[in-house]
Symmetry: C2
Subunit: 201 residues, 2 copies
């Protein structure tokens, strides 16, 4: 059995990453997702390792120090982060994992685990990106300007990614990412036991 | 405009390369093919640069010496070979080119032009490969044995290729190669002007 892929998708705010990933999950129902680790307490029926990995603040900080957290944020006093080891475990079981990380997060993951497939989702144009950000209707002109400045900085990092996919249409972008995953399996195979097994016949 | 891909497909005799490539050409009618260069004389309506590039033996030998011929063979006293420059020219015009080369030819092309995408077509098993070779009904047991020995040697080179695709079904193998091509366009894009252009807006 060959390893599963770890596929990390990033892109500027407003590029439509969430929609493309949702479409992709529909197309590839066997694809796994990453479970976040948090320092907040479980609520109601939440179980460790299902909704979140629940850890204390001290444990979380130790995980950060150990380089186990790919990226994290604090929200209402609690840590939320993406842990590395579960991804490698899932991949080792032959499962493909799809991740939604910030640009910095994808690049950090690639550094930690070189086999990660990193995909940068690009808007068709900066004008269209502004339209999408404005179209949300929830953000002030000032905030849109700020996000556009951030977007330009992030897009400048696109050449560091393995692939760049333009989100012209959600359907097409999702199909292109699915094609990348199929192709990457063909890359994996050459390194795996397929060839060896055939020769050992 | 970004460059076209140069895609070179190889595999052992009997793997079904011709059928897969024919299927692929049906799926991707815009894909170009390589025109061979030969030292034989044009026949009837044949035109230089259409059916073949026609060159004298001396010219052909000079092309070999210049490293311009990726691979060649002699047949009834005439040279037939695959020239490098037309591939790079077509790619430069944004056209994808699909090539059918020997294993050695694909690896030689990759050496000369690193951006070449090399794909190794693998049989589902050695047993199945023997079935396919025997099924032709045109080859003696001895020749089949010889081809199987050659096939094993070639399969041992599969890990040197960018991708390995198993030819279980023609349809599926062709689709996997089409996916690889779509994915490789996503790789190309990150190196091309797409990102620069967006940032220059």
């Amino acid at each position: 059995m060959s390893n599963g892929l770890i596929v990390s998708i990033s892109g500027p705010s407003g590029v439509g990453k969430g929609t493309v990933i949702a479409k992709l999950r529909e197309m590839l129902p066997d694809c796994r997702h990453s479970i976040s680790v948090t320092s907040r307490d479980p609520r109601g029926e939440e179980k460790d390792g299902v909704e979140y990995y629940f850890r204390t603040r001290e444990e979380f900080e130790r995980l950060i120090a150990e380089g186990e957290i790919i990226e994290y944020d604090q929200y209402v006093g609690n840590y939320y982060g993406t842990p590395l080891t579960p991804l490698i475990t899932m991949s080792g079981k032959g499962q493909d994992v799809l991740l939604d990380l910030t640009v910095a997060g994808s690049l950090a993951l690639k550094e930690k685990f070189e086999e990660t497939v990193t995909i940068f989702l690009l808007p068709p144009s900066l004008k269209e990106l502004r339209n999408r950000l404005t179209g949300r209707g929830t953000e002030s002109e000032e905030l849109v300007d700020k996000r556009m400045g951030q977007a330009k900085k992030e897009i400048a990092d696109a050449p560091k990614f393995d692939y760049v996919v333009t989100n012209d249409s959600v359907e097409q972008a999702a199909e292109e990412i699915a094609a990348i995953m199929l192709a990457e399996h063909g890359r994996f195979k050459r390194r795996s036991e397929t060839v060896e097994k055939l020769l050992a016949e």
